[in-house]
């Protein structure tokens, strides 16, 4: 598995919707459902990502493959958000 750099901003947005994540760096391989993401919080998470990055998420990335793990979510988002392009 390649190591994925997870920007702090992304982690901060995501962590608020993961009741079982601790305050340290998120482990990218962790499953989001395992960290407590549920069908009710996912709607808020989508909103927070869109607000936080000022993007509109295309429907075709809102699926279970994107929302499988911390890494898979970031890998889908990175091309859509500025910090992904600059690599920070």
């Amino acid at each position: 598995m390649p190591t994925v750099e997870l920007p702090a901003k992304f982690q901060d947005i995501l962590r608020q919707h993961l009741p079982y994540a601790d305050s340290g760096d998120l482990d990218g391989s962790n499953e989001l459902a395992g960290l407590g993401l549920d069908s009710m919080s996912i709607v808020q998470l989508l909103g927070d990502i869109e607000d936080g990055y000022d993007v509109e998420l295309p429907d075709d990335i809102v699926n279970e493959d994107t929302f499988a793990t911390v890494d898979s979510l970031w890998l889908a988002l990175a091309p859509l958000v500025d910090s992904g392009r600059s690599g920070t």
Binding site: P19, D22, N30, G34, D38, I42, E64, F67
Partner: protein, 516 residues
């Protein structure tokens, strides 16, 4: 004939799929081997018959193996809703005096911030950690799931009869914190055979498990599938599109959901390959609106609709024969096989057709009562018929649900006479929401109740009073400590809450005001 919960696993063919989660599938032979190994591991930890094992995991292979392994070890499994937050989980652990907690390292961290007000966790001596144990609290004996499965020595069978306790399912009433409904092996086995019978389950069925396994109908999907050697596909429900894709990928034949889920599923496109294999769809956990039912029948033209009603205290209770759906779409049907459902007056005499009364459940599915709660057990579990009996009286569940029967004996659910909230298919008491609101320290007065809601059945409304309440801050705090389905859909701030003559909050006035 199966007598114990784990006997239900004996049916499935060795090499046929039993359980799928994401890309992993195990067959019935492997499921039996893992259950036997985990049972031996639990006994190796010192688990004695009748001791409680709480299972707090999202849906995974291990979750299902653990449920049946605890039963095979003679223990009592307590599956909790994986969306529970710390306060609810600690309440369950303390209330049932759990000896073992099966969980993940991330979920176990709640223990380190356990609120002593939730009760003592002194009985909890062992953690079994699924996945990496890194970061798990280490003030108790910790084993990994792999350790548990690697104990080689076979053990003699545990003496367990069908009347022994197999499981405790936590559910809410009209007041207080969630209570543990105590189910015997017989309750679960009789329930599985009854429901698998009327749903006509066969070993060719593929059952999609969308509901939580901590919920009677969710657990029943496992038992009714395994009872005939069928295949269960588990999903941790995040988004409705995944359900569509899983139906296509696994050729799902059996789908059971609660009304708010159906509404989400109807917003999806259902390609023919996803709907083609569906043999039935079943609704539970609240009345399905007529328009929802009509649209589902369009989307699934070849599937039979089953409208079901149950309450945890009697495991499962009624269903409407699909052939009757057009004639009486509002009915909850008749008793499931091997159960009797009555509608009675306060003195216990049966109501006439059309006359409203309390719904009473009889038969082998009637649970053993509430865990460690004599008063509530005595109120809900009472003899039927009331009065003297020439033998030891059989207990029935006096449900508190109000209903009636039509001239042909079909049952209709009317509502409740108490404060219980039904939202998203869950039961909730106002107390459990109000307690968390008070615990935030942000409010001095709080009243929660349900108001009619098209999507949720009822939506939770919280009315609060106190100095300088910021609704956004309060909402954030409630989200931290309440499972999503209990987070109020609406919060109203008042200077003070109205009180009735005896000084209590006037819930009726508030509800009437806000239901508009």
């Amino acid at each position: 004939m199966p007598t114990r919960l784990d006997d239900l696993l004996a049916v499935g063919a060795e090499d046929r799929p039993a359980l799928t989660v994401k890309g992993d599938t195990i067959d019935h032979g492997e499921l039996r081997r893992r259950v036997a190994a985990a049972a031996a591991g639990l006994r190796g930890l010192g688990l004695r018959p009748g001791e409680r094992v709480v299972i707090n995991l999202e849906k995974r292979i291990e979750t299902v193996v653990a449920i049946f392994a605890v039963a095979a070890a003679g223990g009592v499994c307590v599956p909790v809703n994986p969306v529970y937050k710390g306060p609810q989980l600690c309440h369950v652990l303390a209330d049932c005096a759990a000896r073992v907690l099966v969980t993940t390292a991330a979920r176990a961290r709640f223990l380190t911030e356990a609120d002593p007000a939730a009760g003592s966790l002194a009985a909890l001596t062992h953690l079994v950690i699924v996945g990496s144990p890194d970061g798990a609290p280490n003030d108790r004996e910790v084993s990994t799931w792999d350790d548990l499965l690697s104990r080689p020595e076979p053990l003699p069978p545990v003496p367990v009869t069908e009347s022994d306790v197999a499981a405790i399912l936590y559910t809410s009433g009209s007041t207080g914190r969630p209570k543990g409904v105590v189910l015997s092996h017989r309750n679960l086995v009789a329930g599985a055979l009854s429901v698998a019978g009327y749903l006509e389950h066969t070993s060719d069925d593929v059952v999609l498990s969308v509901l939580p396994l901590s919920f009677d109908a969710g657990l029943s999907q496992l038992t009714t599938a395994f009872a005939v050697g069928a295949h269960v596909v588990l999903v941790n429900y995040l988004m409705p599109g995944e359900v569509v894709r899983l139906c296509a990928r696994h050729r799902v034949t059996a789908l059971t959901c609660v009304p708010p889920l159906w509404l989400q599923l109807l917003e999806q496109d259902w390609p023919e390959e996803a709907s083609r294999h569906l043999r039935y769809f079943a609704n539970t956990g609240g009345r399905m609106p007529a328009t929802t039912l009509a649209r589902l029948r369009e989307v699934f033209p070849s599937a039979r609709p089953y409208l079901m009603y149950g309450l945890t205290e009697a495991f499962r209770s009624t269903y409407l024969d699909p052939a009757e759906v057009d004639r009486r779409p509002d009915s909850i049907g008749k008793a499931i096989p091997n159960a009797e459902i009555l509608v009675v007056r306060p003195d216990g005499t049966p109501c006439d057709p059309g006359e409203h009364g309390e719904i009473v459940h009889r038969g082998p599915l009637v649970a053993l009562g509430y865990w460690n709660d004599r008063a509530r057990t005595d109120a809900r579990f009472r003899p039927y018929p009331p009065g003297g009996s020439p033998t030891v009286p059989q207990l029935a569940v006096w449900s508190g649900d109000v209903g009636y029967r039509d001239g042909d004996g079909f049952l209709y659910f009317v509502g409740r006479t108490d404060e219980m909230i039904k939202t998203s298919g869950y039961r909730a008491s106002p107390t459990e929401i109000e307690e968390v609101a008070y615990a935030t320290g942000l409010v001095t007065e709080a009243v929660a109740f349900g108001v009619p809601d098209e999507r949720l059945g009822q939506a939770v409304v919280l009315v609060v009073a106190g100095p300088d309440i910021d609704v956004a801050t309060l909402t954030k705090a409630l989200r931290r400590d309440l499972p999503g389905y209990l987070v109020p859909a609406r919060i109203e701030v008042r200077e003070a809450l109205p009180r009735s003559g005896n000084g209590k909050f006037d819930r009726t006035a508030l509800r009437q005001e806000l239901a508009r």
